[in-house]
């Protein structure tokens, strides 16, 4: 019997240890993913899916990159936060640029930087030889950044629009030639290389505050590029020091800018943190009341109702710190938003019906104090026809035009939006989305609605009665080239092909990867395709250029995938693009839209509609429709957030004890039986 007490005791010890082990995590359990914030500190909590490839403002061209670069790098011009359509206003400059016609089609823009602008504190200045950690922003820094865009080795994706600057392309060519001719040249600091080849002819800095840009042809849209981080002042010291060598970070990951926030922590796999910059001119000189450093006082009725105008004239920014955590999966991200750990969120497809009911927030969401923001993105999605093609293209004249018109009338875009996008989209009537100059809400394109009878009549007129191709005696066969091979993508394309089947057309899907698709576009070996375009800036030129013959895909490698070439359209486009907004420009846009309506190079589908959710403690949320920074305008009520979080996240512990009790109940009889047998 000696073994019995010992076995008994060890079992008891085991049970107690197991109990302690199982329940120990629960003793201090909490689902709060954040350490406590400092008392009174205003922290905005947000998330990101993947870190951007680069934060270099010359190359960063994605929304996720702009979420950081837009906060860290300030721009010469800014968009008005409240006015719609979007309107430019001075940013780092004292006034909007002066435009001067120089003759021969050349145009000059003169920017005057504010005095006493400083970069955020950074060691690069000391490492480059200065005796402090910042320095004044000068116009030469903007010229340096423009040179970086022109530098082929930087690989900026926006060389094309800047090629309107006099001597821009030549600068890149001179640089490349010098680098190839002299291997030692490339070892020199890059700002010295730029200076050695003479800079860009059309970029002049008469003083440290003044920058003059000369265009060799009129391109009024250039001013929008100065509201994007591509043209932000960049200190040469940062580019020199942050080369990724000897343990130094790369400039791609270590921005040094002039913006209202500084990137103080950047772990691409897990989190990044932005903190208010004490060097930002809005913080250092609130007395200036600079237009981009105070909350705007002009807004619409909706701004007044939302209480945004109560902030009018107050100095920016309101948020001290922005904590952004990586959240790759949409469901956890959305659930954390519902728990109050993220301040804003989109709506995931899986929860859409729970959140939105009858096009408004569900009572459950309203009870939580959540509000809904809707905005139409400045984009357009469309089905394009390759007009160089022998069947759907211009070669068959009126026949193919009627075929395209018939195919337009078969697509039910509303149904598409309902099935695939939870109805989040606005029917496109033309390439221009709402919020862009030239958009006419009253305009209804007669070919963007479903009319199968009319479509069948048009098929007869096109020479394909019942969809039958008289040359083969079978259904007219076309191909739809898609670069989305996923199941979801194929289902969406099948929606279109099924629609066309109703008028007798047999459209086969050819799905390839993106590069093979691009290759087909370059070679002109395609008939029908779907594409989308997101605006770089809020101007109709940025949409209509997609149909300008000089942008033809097959001939010039441009984004005009339809290879649309229409002399009247081109003439109107060239006039419209260099004209300021006004009645004449509006008339030109109307005429261009009419040409597209009749010619049908595209079937305009939709403009995406973004639905965003915000907790009740978040103030001043107004989507811009384009990738523009808005952190500095936001405000939060930390006390309300703290109270709501506590209320929503009380742990429910009893199931742990119940589970453990169930385990014990299963095992105990067996142990008792064993002990009895031993006795």
């Amino acid at each position: 019997m000696r073994g019995l007490p010992s076995a008994n005791a060890s079992l008891h010890v085991g049970i107690i240890a197991g109990l302690a082990f199982l329940l120990s995590p629960l003793l201090g359990c909490s689902n709060d993913p954040y350490p406590p914030a400092k008392e009174g500190e205003k922290v905005l909590y947000s998330s990101f899916i993947d870190a951007p490839r680069t934060l270099d403002p010359a190359t960063a061209y994605t929304t996720r990159a702009h979420a950081i670069t837009g906060a860290v790098y300030d721009t010469l011009l800014k968009y008005h936060f409240l006015k719609r359509p979007l309107e430019l206003m001075p940013g780092l400059v004292v006034a909007l640029p002066e435009r001067t016609e120089l003759g021969d089609g050349r145009v000059r823009y003169r920017f005057e930087l504010r005095e006493d602008l400083l970069y955020a504190d950074d060691e690069c200045f000391r490492l480059a030889g200065l005796d402090r950690t910042t320095r004044e922003v000068v116009s030469q820094d903007v010229a340096f950044q423009l040179s970086r865009i022109a530098d082929p080795e930087v690989g900026s994706p926006v060389i094309e629009p800047f090629s309107n600057i006099l001597g821009f392309a030549e600068f890149g060519q001179r640089l490349t030639a010098r680098r190839e001719a002299d291997p030692k040249f490339i070892l020199r600091p890059v700002h010295e290389q730029y200076a050695a080849v003479g800079g860009i002819a059309g970029v002049v800095t008469p003083s440290i505050q003044v920058l003059e840009i000369t265009l060799h042809r009129a391109y009024p849209q250039i001013k929008y590029w100065f509201a994007m981080e591509f043209t932000t002042p960049v200190p040469w010291e940062a580019v020199l020091v942050y080369d990724g060598k000897e343990g130094r970070p790369r400039f791609d990951d270590h921005p040094v800018g002039t913006g209202p926030y500084v990137l103080v922590e950047y772990d691409k796999q897990a989190r990044y943190v932005l903190e208010r910059s004490p060097n930002w001119y809005g913080v250092r000189h609130p007395e200036w009341k600079a237009p981009s450093a105070v909350f705007p006082s002009e807004g619409d009725e909706e701004d007044r109702r939302a209480g945004r105008l109560e902030y009018a004239g107050r100095s920016l920014p309101f948020i001290d710190r922005v904590e952004v955590r990586r959240e790759k999966e949409s469901i956890p991200r959305f659930n954390k938003f519902l728990q109050g750990y993220y301040d804003a969120s989109g709506i995931i497809k899986e929860s859409f019906d729970k959140v939105i009911q009858e096009d408004a927030l569900s009572p459950e969401m309203v009870a939580r104090g959540i509000s809904l923001g809707k905005s139409v993105a400045l984009d357009v999605f469309y089905i394009g026809f390759n007009l160089d093609d022998g069947v759907v293209g211009r070669g068959r004249g009126e026949r193919s035009r009627k075929l395209r018109q018939a195919m337009s009338l078969a697509i039910d875009v509303e149904e598409y939006l309902r099935i695939f996008m939870n109805g989040r989209g606005v029917l496109a009537q033309s390439p221009i989305p709402p919020g862009i100059y030239g958009y006419r809400p009253e305009y209804k394109n007669p070919y963007t609605r479903v009319d199968l009878d009319r479509a069948r009549t048009l098929m007869v007129e096109a020479g394909y009665p019942g969809g039958i191709d008289p040359t083969t005696g079978e259904a007219l066969r076309l191909t739809f080239d898609s670069y989305d091979t996923s199941t979801a993508g194929m289902t969406q394309v099948r929606f279109y092909t099924s629609a066309w089947k109703q008028i007798g057309i047999d459209v086969r899907i050819e799905a390839t990867n993106y590069n093979q698709f691009q290759e087909k576009l370059r070679n002109g070996a395609y008939q029908v395709f779907q594409f989308g375009w997101v605006a770089d800036y809020p101007d109709p030129e940025n949409f209509f250029f997609l149909l300008w013959s000089e942008m033809g895909k097959s001939k010039f490698g441009g984004p005009n995938g339809a290879n649309f070439s229409n002399a009247a359209f081109d003439q109107l486009f060239e006039s419209m693009k260099s004209r300021e907004n006004g009645p004449r420009r509006m008339e030109e846009i109307r005429e261009m839209t009419a040409i597209l309506e009749h010619e049908r190079p595209w079937i305009e589908l939709f403009h995406r509609e973004d639905y965003s959710l915000y907790h009740g403690w978040v103030r001043n949320v107004k989507p811009m429709g384009i990738s523009a920074p808005t952190y500095q305008y936001r405000d939060i009520d930390p006390a309300r957030r703290k109270a709501d979080r506590l209320d929503w996240n009380k742990p429910i512990v009893w199931p742990a004890y119940a589970l453990f009790a169930a385990g014990v109940l299963i095992v105990l009889p067996g142990i008792r039986t064993y002990l009895k047998e031993r006795q």
């Binding site: 993913p33 951007p52 490839r53 994706p157 796999q269 897990a270 956890p332 728990q339 691009q518 429910i652």
Partner: protein, 320 residues
Amino acid sequence: MGAYVIRRLAYGVGVIVGVLFLLFLLFFTVTQPDDIARRALGEKVSVEVIEQWKVNHGYDRPLWPWQDWDDNLLFEHYRRMLTFDFGVSDADDSPIIDRIRAGVGPSLSLTVPLLVLGILGGIPLSLLVAFFRETYIDRTGVFLCVLAMSVSIILYIVGAQYLIGKVLRWYPISGFDADLLMLPRFLALPIIVGLLSGIGGDVRFYRTVFLEESTRDFIRTARAKGASEPRIMTHHVLRNALIPILTRVVLAIPFLFTGALLLEAFFGIPGLGSMTFDAIQANDFSTLRTMVFIGSLAFVLGQIATDLSYGLVDPRVRFE
């Protein structure tokens, strides 16, 4: 023993060289550099930018030595991998070795507790079910194990995030913080999921081993000498069942460094598993190549370490 180790290492080198060649075929001949570049740079970039990217990443070289003996992708691939000069990520140009260094810590913080708790939980549980063999405890245990093994880890993850993270609110649904005070909070849920998904297989395996050992002659002798059942299980059965247990454990050790792919990815732990998962999603082939290479290296080393460990726990094993 020295000759044995050298022979095993030589086999290992052969396997690695073969794996590298297969990797080359897979990553360089099947996929076009243009695809990788387009994925990394976005759809709006021009052809010139794509070409510059290919030059910057070395993808402009010929594939095979007979095309250019001095400068070709095959030799460069071998040189880089065998010297651990992994280059930069195709997705964001960051040095891969830096990302590996940064990812090892988070991976180990998850996989080491998982392994240790898996052993500490799995062995006593298997001893318990083996101890109560052919009783309802054994049958219930085996049933629960088969049930646990039959459920996909994805279901465990989603279920735990919903039930424990969202409904019961015990731990954060996902995330990571290296701060020692915050870390246990973030690791609790993935560890629970990892244990639940692995415990069924572990217990079934250990139970079988223990039951096999418990029918041996020396166990019968011990029982005849009056040793108690708990003593027989812990002193005689467990000790003699160490070889298969050791095989399983030692083989798992090298993979602690490569992380837990799905757990890290779904719980947002920035480890090497998550890094591999991201690389798959982003067509980041340079990172993927590196991780596959490290995985195969870990496997070969794990095999050798397992063989050597037999000699440590069983004096009967001789290396020849």
